[in-house]
């Protein structure tokens, strides 16, 4: 199996994981969406040099992962796949921002390195939470939840198709790569070959997408996403949302690490 193909198969595993019966998958998709949005808002709202104050937020993705029994190795592979983007986004910081900042009593560091660390941490937090939610809900149920929350149909249907077509494009690409290798193509293709491959890939993916679209129409798909488990809001969902949002608000309002430190030193003294 080519690298691309196995990476995609691996991503697809999210849907397979979501089919299991776990504490996370039993929650209403809407509860997970709302809570995760609140989580994202809280994490993003911090000033760019924040590192330590973000640490309490680790609790949420960790809780999702364990509730959803999401395999850590799978998660780590997905994070590693996306990590270069975060590094790319943040790498200019240490170069541009060299002003020293005091990180602990008597220890200073260039501000750029701290904001770089902050970007990486936020990236890890948000991507882990998002992956865990997908793996604990499934893309279809997630889109159904989004629609039930009032997201316009065009958007949710689009998202579902995007998810589906990503595998189509990847699958076609993998098949073409295999075919090229089978005919002795080696190394990276020349520009001309590359252009022709890319053109073919798009055409094939397009035709396949059209067939898929037809197959969905033939089975009565009209743009509305109907969940295969009826959305049912229970008291567990309320507890989940209220509990976590309260925690986010508290963590945002109070500098928890400091409070914890004071408590400890207070006790010690």
């Amino acid at each position: 199996m080519s690298r691309l193909e196995s990476a995609l198969a691996d991503l697809r595993l999210a849907d397979t994981l979501a089919a299991r019966d776990t504490g996370l998958s039993r929650l209403d998709p809407r509860a997970k969406i709302v809570t995760t949005l609140a989580f994202l808002a809280a994490v993003v709202s911090y000033e760019r040099h924040t590192v330590v104050a973000l640490l309490p937020f680790l609790l949420y993705p960790v809780a999702l992962v364990s509730m959803g029994e999401v395999p850590w190795r799978w998660l780590a592979r997905k994070l590693a796949l996306a990590a270069p983007f975060a590094v790319l986004m943040g790498i200019a910081n240490p170069v541009l921002d060299r002003a020293p900042l005091e990180v602990a009593h008597g220890v200073t560091m260039a501000g750029g390195w701290i904001s770089f660390g902050s970007i990486l941490l936020r990236f890890a937090l948000t991507v882990t939470a998002a992956l865990a939610v997908v793996a604990g809900t499934g893309m279809h149920a997630l889109c159904a939840g989004l629609a039930a929350l009032g997201t316009p149909r065009v958007f949710t249907a689009q998202l579902l198709f995007l998810w589906r077509y990503a595998f189509v494009l990847g699958g076609e690409g993998a098949r073409m790569a295999t075919a090229r290798e089978a005919r002795g193509g080696r190394g990276s293709p020349t520009l001309a070959v590359y252009g022709s491959l890319a053109g073919h890939l798009l055409l094939r993916a397009f035709e396949r997408a059209e067939r898929i679209h037809r197959a969905m129409l033939a089975r009565g798909f009209d743009g509305e996403i109907r969940p295969s488990r009826a959305l049912r809001w229970s008291s567990r969902d309320t507890v989940f949302v209220v509990g976590w949002v309260a925690f986010f608000v508290a963590a945002r309002a109070v500098y928890l690490p400091l409070l914890l430190g004071r408590l400890l030193t207070g006790l010690g003294g």
Partner: protein, 243 residues
């Protein structure tokens, strides 16, 4: 099962790139009849089926189910009446588990989730794939995928089944199971295929297509004896008749 006559009247179609795929095809299928459509590659079989399911609009001519004309306006009725099993099951399967995939059609018709799940379970039982219910469809074998795709269509309760090359890629045992299954169905069945032995087993009537037209229509036993016709249409007599 509430069944109607299915009728194609002078269907013509050219793809946007100018390829003529159908050139005045007409025929009439009685309720409960099992009809094969055979013909060489590019004869227009798949295009014809798509048009009968209202998934492609004819340039000229019309498809009628009972006294309803297949148009965008009658789409809901057509979706409920006609079940389409696609040539490539991979195009059809996409939900995370088999049981959810089979329930997809009924859910789209507004059937409540629990009821859709039970319709799905029944349909899986009919095709003998109940044991696959919890599996992700994309990890199944070709034959299993075909069975699940068929279940997804059966679950919608259509009275007409359109099947595009249902035996392609099946091993002999899976092919035999499909034959048994289709023989037992009471649906109106229209099957595009290259498998003439399959036609002998499942269909009482065969239409031969060439260049977008129906060039022969009759009992398989008679039509498949016409060697010049078969040769012209890139076909060969059924294997069981050969040596």
């Amino acid at each position: 099962m509430n069944q109607q006559v299915v009728e194609a009247i002078g269907l013509s179609y050219a793809y946007p790139d100018g390829t003529t795929a159908l050139d005045g095809a007409s025929f009439r299928v009685a309720p409960g009849e099992s009809v094969a459509i055979v013909g060489g590659n590019g004869a227009g079989k798949s295009t014809l089926l798509l048009m009968m399911a209202g998934l492609l609009e004819a340039n000229a001519g019309e498809v009628r189910i009972g006294d309803v004309s297949v148009t965008p306006g009658s789409r809901d009725f057509v979706r409920r009446t006609i079940g389409f099993v696609f040539q490539d099951a991979d195009d059809q399967l996409f939900m995370p588990t088999v049981k959810e995939d089979v329930a997809f059609g009924p859910l789209n018709f507004g059937v409540p989730a629990e009821e859709a799940a039970s319709l799905a379970a029944t349909a899986l039982d009919v095709v003998g794939a109940s044991h696959l219910a919890e599996r992700p469809p994309y990890h199944l074998s070709g034959g299993e995928k075909r069975a699940v795709a068929l279940a997804g269509v059966i679950a919608m309760g259509p009275s007409v089944l359109l099947l595009d090359e249902p035996t392609a890629g099946l091993d002999p045992a899976a092919r035999r199971r499909l034959i048994k299954l289709l023989q037992a169905f009471e649906h109106t069945r229209i099957v595009a295929t290259h498998d003439l032995d399959f036609v002998l087993d499942v269909c009482a009537r065969v239409l031969v297509m060439e260049g977008g037209r129906i060039v022969a229509d009759g009992a398989p036993d008679a039509v498949f004896r016409d060697e010049p016709l078969l040769a012209r249409c890139h076909l060969e007599a059924p294997l069981r008749w050969q040596g």
